[in-house]
Every structure is written in structure tokens, then in C-alpha cells.
Symmetry: C2
Subunit: 269 residues, 2 copies
């Protein structure tokens, strides 16, 4: 199939790609951007239906890009070749590698989560920085979480920097967006213990029993957890901190807590 | 004292500030950049001798900048006011806040490390990404490490992005740069147990005894640890990993290992 070549910086497709960096157009169109060879490769591996793939050979960093393009085309993705200038306009990364795809957003609900006997879940509330949210997804993946539940999001999970910082985990780890109050009720109904982390808790996280059905709850960077969780959680715990008050950010705190749970649950993530 | 005002983009001082982003001029001059209100505030708190401070009120984000400037001036720092355009030229951050200082580099050696009875040290080898090195310093600070030893650095500790990602920990936590072979000998001489993390180790990090005099050893992003450490360490351990192979980067692995050490050593960082 002949590939459409785009060189004009005024092409409406380019303008759309730039618009998709922002949340409102992203939500209206129910689509999102996946930039970079590694990320698009992982999306394909995870059977994410890429609607379109924009590429620009002048930016390629490796030799495997043509194989990726063929694979995407076989999976039904429409390809567009961009001039170097045109790609520079649509790339949001500092160092583009000539690969940018558009995929439809998905929406998972709490009932989509496949719960094993002793689920390990991570619940995050109102995370602000896309880099933190993406890193949190990586941490949850490394710890073998069954799902991540994003409550009352300030940053949406389809933000380009979440996609990037998650290194593709967004495509594989079940990620549900839901109101906190519904999540708390859902956890209670299923007998899943909610353990909230907050610097003010007297109990150390290592003294809490993190075995069995468990949801680790983390608050926002600036405000921490809301009263919903501070009062509604089964237990509040803190991570001991030497040094500066802000040496652990929310993503680091989530990682430490999840790996303590992994240790208590038998040591194998 | 009247403050020199710089508006010309050709001013040699501005050119020098831009040059200091690169390692060679930074090392030749034995100076480095500290950008941002928070970072400069922490440098002052830690008695870092700021040679010069460049500021531009048009970029200020808060109201406390004048107090910071007075404080710096009282500490002997020379102030320069920049026009908005001039500051835009020297800022390396995406969102500048109108504060940029230059400080002399320092050099600490192994003999400068004050060793308590049971030291907790972090040794990192050939870390490539400044963001990782800065985050590692934060983690070491949070875990109460007595020092961080940077072996065979690919990225120097005075890289502007290390300064930034460390959120000022670089100014407080003792950080020594030294050849790996000298560090290994130094650890052995002092009876400090070297525990190296590598994905190939059969032993889980949680099964290793991390109490007593301890150095946690972490390798580079791309190559992991060199044979010096893989063969020379007292023990090799791994972190269990679910999910993608690269869900934990070196900074995350360091954090997880250090907080397990904190737990074993009594739970209070």
C-alpha cells in the first residue's frame, strides 16, 4: 500500500498530533500519543490497536524501524511518512527517534480487575506529575501488582509523559481510573485490606502485616492523602526518613512499600 | 553595594554560564551551576560558598527571592541582575525561576568519610544518566547513608541535572569520587561488607544479612557491575522482578536495597 508522505507543516494531521499533547483534545477524541521506537514496539507486542503511525527516517536511531513499520501495517495501522521538519513539529521528546503512533484510549473499570486469591493492588490519589505516575506504574509492574487504581486523577494516564515514564507498562498492567469513594467501597466489599502511607502515621510500614489481600494507598505529591483514605483505610503507616523532608517522593515511597509487601508475601515478586 | 546589571546577550559572563553546562569547562574551572530557588536556598543553608548569583525578577515565581539575595550577599556572594532575555539564555531548566548561582567544586576523598561503628554506604559504578545519579543521592539521604561513593564516573556529580535531581542532597550528603579498585581495597581494610546487586545472583537481597558495616554496590544502567565488583564483593544479591525486565532502573533498585538494609538495621533510617 503506498504510504502518504507529509512535508507541509500546515498539514491538518500534524496539527492534530500537536493537539493530542493536551488533555482536553485527547479526552474528546478518546485517543493518545505513543512516541518512540521502544514504546511503540511494546504497544504492538501488547496488541494495542495503533490507528496511525507517523515515521521519519531522517530521525531513526537504529536499524529495526522498517521491521516495526511492516509489523504495524500488518496489524492494520495506517502509515504516514514525515519529512524531518514535519516530524520535528509533532515530536514532544527532546530527542525524537522518528516514531510516533496514535492509539485509541481504553477504559477499564473495577469489575475488569481479575482478582487472584491474595491480590496486591496499588491505589494512588490525585497524582500531579506525569513522570511520577509513569514511574509508579513501573514500580507496580516490578512488584507484580495485579492492578493500579488511579483515583480522582489530576494527570490522566494517557498523558504522553506518563506513557513515556511507564516505559510501556501502561499497555500491560491493568490500570483503572475511578472515584476514590467507589474504590474504598469496592475494597471493603471484597475484604481487601487498605494500608495508607502518610508521614504522620505512628506505625512503620515494616511493622504492618502486608500479606493477604492488600491495597497500598498513596496520596498526591503536594497534599498527601485525603481524609477519605486517612479515615477510611484499615491502617496508616509511614516510611522512616533520615535526611531531608522531601528525599522520598511519592513514586519512591510507593516502590519501597510495594517491595516490603513483596518481601512479606514470600520474597518473589 | 550597587549590583551590576546585564542586558547584553553578548556579555562574556553569560557565555561562561552556558559553558558551565558542559563537563570539560566545569572541570577546568572547578566550578558548577546551581539553578533554582529551592536548590540555591539549600546550598546557602549548607554553607556552600556561592561565588556569584545571577537573578532576574521577571522570572521570579514567589516572594521570598529578595530575602534569598540579601542572605547570599551577606555570605559574600557577588550579585548580578539579568534582563528577562539574558536570563532565558543562561537558564537550562525548561521553566526557569530567575535564580542561578555558581559555586566552586569540592573534592572529598575516602579519608574524609566519617565512619560510625556500623556504617551504611552506597557505592555506584559508572552511572550514565544524571537524573539517576541525582535520584540515587536522594535515596541514600532518605535511607540515612553515611556517604555515597561514585566510582569511575561517566556523569560527574556536578552535572546541572545531578544537582537538580538530587534536590540539594549533593550539598549535605558526603559524596566521594574515586576509582573502583581503590574503593574495594578501602572497604576491605575497614571490614566493611560489600554487597553487590546484580540480576544474575541466585540470592535474594532480602535473604542477605544487611546489618553491621555495609556497602551496597550498584552498577551502571547499561552494563551493570564490572567484574571488579562481581568477583570482589563479599556477596551478590538480586531483587525479585515481576513484569518487564527493565521495570526497575538502577535508582529504583538502589532505593529498594537501601530500605531493606534500613529495615534489617532496626527500621529507623
Amino acid at each position: 500500500m503506498p504510504v502518504e508522505i507529509i512535508t507541509s507543516l500546515q498539514n491538518p494531521r500534524l496539527k492534530r498530533l500537536v493537539r493530542l499533547r493536551d488533555r482536553r483534545p485527547r479526552d474528546e477524541e478518546r485517543a493518545f500519543l505513543i512516541e518512540g521506537y521502544r514504546e511503540v514496539r511494546r504497544a504492538l507486542e501488547r496488541k494495542v490497536a495503533l490507528g496511525e503511525l507517523y515515521y521519519s527516517p531522517g530521525w531513526f536511531l537504529g536499524e529495526n524501524e522498517p521491521a516495526l513499520l511492516s509489523e504495524a501495517e500488518s496489524a492494520g495501522t495506517k502509515l504516514f511518512e514525515l519529512s524531518k521538519d514535519a516530524f520535528a513539529k509533532v515530536a514532544y521528546r527532546e530527542r525524537p527517534d522518528g516514531i510516533l503512533a496514535v492509539a485509541p484510549q481504553w477504559r477499564r473499570t473495577l469489575s475488569d480487575i481479575a482478582l487472584p486469591a491474595d491480590p496486591l493492588l496499588l491505589v494512588v490519589e490525585a497524582i500531579e506529575k506525569p513522570g511520577n505516575l509513569g514511574t509508579i506504574l513501573r514500580s507496580a509492574d516490578a512488584a507484580g501488582c495485579d492492578a493500579v487504581i488511579v483515583c480522582d486523577p489530576v494527570t490522566d494516564i494517557f498523558n504522553p509523559n506518563v506513557v513515556r515514564a511507564s516505559t510501556g507498562v501502561l499497555f500491560s498492567l491493568p490500570c483503572v481510573v475511578e472515584e476514590g469513594i467507589a474504590v474504598l467501597a469496592w475494597l471493603r466489599d471484597r475484604g481487601i485490606r487498605a494500608v495508607a502511607t502518610t508521614p504522620a502515621a505512628p506505625m512503620l510500614y515494616t511493622d504492618s502485616d502486608l500479606r493477604g489481600p492488600l491495597a497500598v494507598i498513596m496520596g498526591s505529591e503536594q497534599f498527601g492523602l485525603s481524609d477519605l483514605w486517612l479515615k477510611g483505610a484499615d491502617q496508616c503507616v509511614r516510611i522512616p526518613m533520615a535526611g531531608q523532608a522531601d528525599s522520598l517522593n511519592v513514586a519512591m515511597a510507593a516502590l519501597v512499600t510495594l517491595f516490603e509487601a513483596v518481601r512479606q508475601r514470600g520474597g518473589r515478586a
